[in-house]
């Protein structure tokens, strides 16, 4: 056998959903031995459908799957595992209260005398496996005490432990910090050397170019091209993905900041476990500028944002909006003064998924005129609400089957557009953006960035928090770095070099 024989072939895979959507349209994909093959496409392009078919979670309408050249029928995940296919889902499938070892062996326990669990043997094997892959992990650690990056390694261990030769990773870097991403790439390269073939699903162009041997791009259920990193570049891949030329760089003019709008002085706060997470944060945002906050997740950014919008009570310090002390005001009162907020977790905070689009479009303004009136603002005004929803859906190009569709049925990009459309109102003073483009495809990111710049140029003070350093660097006029609950550095956009900011994020110190 030569190295280049495909271990896996998917031929003419077609899947039409009951709703009529053609999710996969005669897709061909082949995976060679010892290859990292990236599957690139926008949200809803059909990547996940294809992988769910491979893993036996969906049945294709047409097409066949060949492993080592022989056609196979994969009816359920048990079939897939038996044939050496392992899957690491975007949302981890781990039992939080069990240990690493318990999670890894779950369903494939080693037993002594037929009945007794032999955890020692399992732990030994897990240590060996982790050593081979080039990382260390404590098999006794409880999964809920691990970082997301470590949890992902547990998922990979689990798949390899079950004998996976073909490993599918669904958006593995979506939740990781830049450091963790680099580490996981090391693990994947080691796996490749060990003989595992890997399908890497992503919509991040730079990562795909860095890690993949070949890249297959899918758009609207069809394969639109396969490239090697050497023969392509970010612009071509983006164009293949979206179907038109996309500007990857944010196109923005100079900012013209004027008066200070938002002022944070000596802010202190604790997290849900009452640990001090903000230890005296000072920052100001002026009208007409975008201030970006960079930092590795968990350094107090979330709490900072929650304090500013009123979701969390600070334990010290003051917040001012246009000179007025707002520290003790409620969420409503702050919103009335012109603070808008796009939360990091749109499904948990930004939307009520079972509700229709109009109800979601007015979620934060439901009690205001003209959406409520009569009996002292007690009665909702459906025609005004629908009118606003129609206007926003058109202006922000929200694509849904109908206005009455539940928000849950929208794609991630369209869900985020609903939140953004609602918060980007006209009488805005300051805009707080927490991970505004997390998990979105290139087209939606471009659109939302444009809208943010537009608001800035209209004189809004924008505070942007993002775990994507590139987003902060591209969009911000000033960049602050947060480390362990403090602002440890401040850069003007022109002097913020990626390395300098990255080092400060990682260590909290500026020396190299």
């Amino acid at each position: 056998m030569t190295e280049n024989l495909p271990v896996l072939e998917m031929r003419g895979i077609t899947k039409r959903f009951a709703t009529g959507t053609l999710a996969n349209d005669a897709i061909d994909l082949d995976l060679r031995a010892r290859e990292i093959h990236a599957l690139l496409g926008e949200n809803g392009a059909g990547k996940s459908t294809l992988m769910n078919i491979l893993y036996g979670l969906l049945t294709p309408d047409a097409g066949e799957i060949l492993i080592d050249g022989k056609p196979v029928a994969i009816r359920d995940p048990a079939d897939a595992i038996a044939r050496g296919i392992g899957m690491v889902h975007q949302h981890f499938m781990l039992v939080p209260v069990l240990t690493v070892a318990e999670n890894v062996v779950l369903g494939q326990e080693i037993t002594r005398g037929g009945q007794l669990l032999d955890m020692r043997a399992a732990e030994r094997r897990i240590r060996e496996l982790a050593d081979r892959l080039g990382f260390s992990i404590d098999p006794h650690a409880r999964v809920d005490q691990l970082s997301l990056g470590q949890q992902q390694r547990v998922e990979i261990l689990k798949a390899i432990y079950r004998g996976a030769r073909i490993l599918v990773l669904d958006e593995p870097t979506a939740v990781l910090t830049p450091q963790e991403t680099r580490e996981i790439f090391g693990v994947l390269r080691r796996l490749r050397e060990e003989g595992t073939s890997i399908i890497f699903i992503s919509h991040k162009l730079d990562e795909v170019l860095e890690i993949a041997d070949r890249i297959t791009v899918i758009r609207r259920g069809k394969v639109v091209g396969t490239r090697t990193p050497a023969e392509t570049n970010e612009n071509e891949l983006a164009e293949l993905m979206v179907g038109r030329a996309v500007s990857l760089r944010v196109d923005r003019g100079k900012s013209h900041p004027v008066d200070v709008v938002l002022e944070v002085v000596g802010l202190r706060a604790t997290d849900d476990r009452r640990h001090d997470v903000l230890q005296g944060v000072d920052l100001t945002v002026r009208a007409g500028e975008i201030v970006g906050v960079a930092g590795v997740g968990g350094n107090g950014q979330d709490e900072l944002v929650e304090c500013i919008v009123g979701l969390r009570k600070p334990t010290g310090g003051t917040l001012k909006l246009e000179g007025r002390d707002i520290t003790r005001l409620s969420i409503d009162a702050r919103r009335d003064l012109g603070i808008a907020y796009v939360p990091a977790d749109r499904q948990r905070f930004g939307l009520v998924l079972p509700f229709s689009l109009p109800d979601n479009f007015v979620l934060t303004r439901y009690a205001e005129r003209p959406y409520a009136g009569g009996l002292g603002g007690f009665v909702r005004q459906h025609s005004a609400i629908r009118g606003e929803a129609t206007r926003l859906a058109t202006e922000f190009d929200v694509r849904a089957s109908s206005l009455d569709a539940a928000a849950a049925t929208l794609s991630g990009g369209n869900q985020q557009k609903v939140v953004v459309a609602r918060e980007f109102r006209h009488d805005l003073k300051t805009l707080i953006l927490d991970q505004p483009t997390r998990g979105l495809d290139v087209g939606s990111v471009e659109f939302i960035h444009k809208q943010v710049i537009e608001r800035r140029d209209a004189g809004v003070a924008v505070l942007l928090v993002s775990a994507e350093l590139d987003e902060v660097l591209d969009l911000s006029d000033r960049i602050l770095v947060m480390y362990r609950g403090r602002v440890v550095g401040s850069f003007a956009a022109a002097e913020a070099q990626r390395e300098k900011v990255g080092l400060l994020m990682a260590t909290g110190e500026a020396r190299s």
Binding site: R335, F378, R380
Partner: protein, 379 residues
């Protein structure tokens, strides 16, 4: 005829599982009737279910009196069903309708008895108000406990149900026992009784139907209703939107208790005329079934309450004329709830596709014992 389902559209999408559950429950109860007929005097009779169901129908809708009986039985279930349904909309499972019903009934009975000689136009509304207030107070307690301390409403309301029954038994025995009766009861309500609107149908049904439409209006058309639904569907988003989940939780339990109290009040003022320990204890739990069958939607609850009222009204005739025991009704009711909770069975049998968006009410009920975090509790 082919596309009648399509024409009913969204209504049918919500109603199909409840409707199919009823069909399936009747079918299985028919098997029970047939099998059990083999052990009776009359002997094995495969056609017995048809006869039994025909008498059930006759006894519930076959005459003016039958319909009146059905509606009299349905009225408290409408109030009770609304009480449970409103709670479910806010993500609360109020099992305490039984207790709130009793407190409302007692308050209405005691007030009604003390105003027995006053004119109806004054006495009846005051007795109704007392019932509503009693239920509201008894609903506020678990609501407050949940909002302030996070105590799960299922646990507290179960406890409060027992407390209500025993306290009121003591109260009737030692505080307000009417003289001259062989058993403990309150004095007659006299002029406080609900007037009849025709045959044996009392005014309570008018109040109940009004409550259905008022609750529907509250949920669909008011900002409070929007707050209740948002807190129920996503308490985090509610907080983000500037609502106060803690306050909404306590308020919803209070309104829920108020509705349950009214169920008790119309039962006293329209049917029994006095409070005695042990009266119509089934209403509290049948209300849960009615709310689930009605999918927590007020109009759904209207139909579900009429169905359950029809069971209660028609069952005696079925037993008298076909010897099929009244308990068959309990079997049917239990099966309906079983199929609603395990809707996968119904979906398999009738090939109904699962909804895209999860129905939150049943999740509230089935999740109540699964250790879901207290949704309304403050951070």
């Amino acid at each position: 005829m082919k596309d009648w389902r399509a024409r009913l559209g969204p209504t049918w999408a919500v109603a199909q599982v409840p409707v199919y559950s009823i069909v399936l429950a009747f079918a299985i109860a028919a098997v029970v009737i047939i099998v059990s007929s083999a052990f009776t005097r009359t002997g094995f009779d495969p056609l017995l279910p048809f006869a039994a169901y025909a008498r059930l129908l006759a006894g519930s809708f076959g005459s003016g009196n039958a319909i009146a009986n059905t509606l009299v039985a349905a009225a408290p279930l409408m109030f009770g069903g609304l009480a449970v349904g409103l709670g479910l909309k806010a993500g609360l499972f109020n099992i305490g309708v039984a207790g709130q019903f009793l407190v409302g009934a007692f308050a209405a009975a005691a007030t009604g008895a003390s105003l027995a000689t006053a004119p109806t136009i004054v006495a009846m509304p005051l007795a109704m108000l007392a019932g509503a207030a009693g239920g509201a107070v008894y609903g506020f307690i678990p609501g407050y406990l949940k909002a302030r301390t996070g105590a799960h409403e299922v646990v507290t309301t179960i406890m409060l149900n027992s407390a209500a029954g025993l306290l009121l038994t003591w109260a009737v025995n030692d505080l307000v026992r009417a003289p001259g009766f062989s058993f403990p009861r309150t004095a007659d309500i006299g002029q406080s009784a609900l007037p009849f609107v025709g045959r044996n149908l009392h005014l309570g049904i008018v109040f109940a139907v009004a409550a259905i439409f008022l609750t529907r209006w509250l949920l669909d058309r008011t900002t409070l209703g929007f707050e209740i639904r948002t807190v129920g569907a996503n308490p985090s988003a509610a907080r983000y939107a500037g609502m106060r989940p803690v306050f909404i939780t306590a308020l919803t339990m209070t309104i829920s208790g108020l509705l349950a109290g009214l169920a008790g009040a119309i039962q006293i003022l329209g049917v029994t005329g006095f409070y005695a320990p042990g009266i119509t204890a089934t209403v509290g739990f049948d209300s849960i079934a009615v709310a689930l069958l009605g999918r927590s939607d007020p109009i759904g609850i209207l139909f579900a309450a009429i169905l359950f009222g029809a069971f209660r009204a028609g069952a005696p005739l079925m037993q008298i004329e076909t010897s099929v025991p009244i308990e068959v009704i309990d079997i049917i009711q239990a099966l309906v709830i079983l199929f609603l909770a395990a809707d996968l069975i119904v979906r398999r049998v009738f090939r109904v596709r699962a909804p895209k968006v999860e129905i939150t009410e049943m999740a509230t009920v089935t999740g109540s014992w699964g250790g879901t975090p207290p949704t309304g509790a403050a951070r």
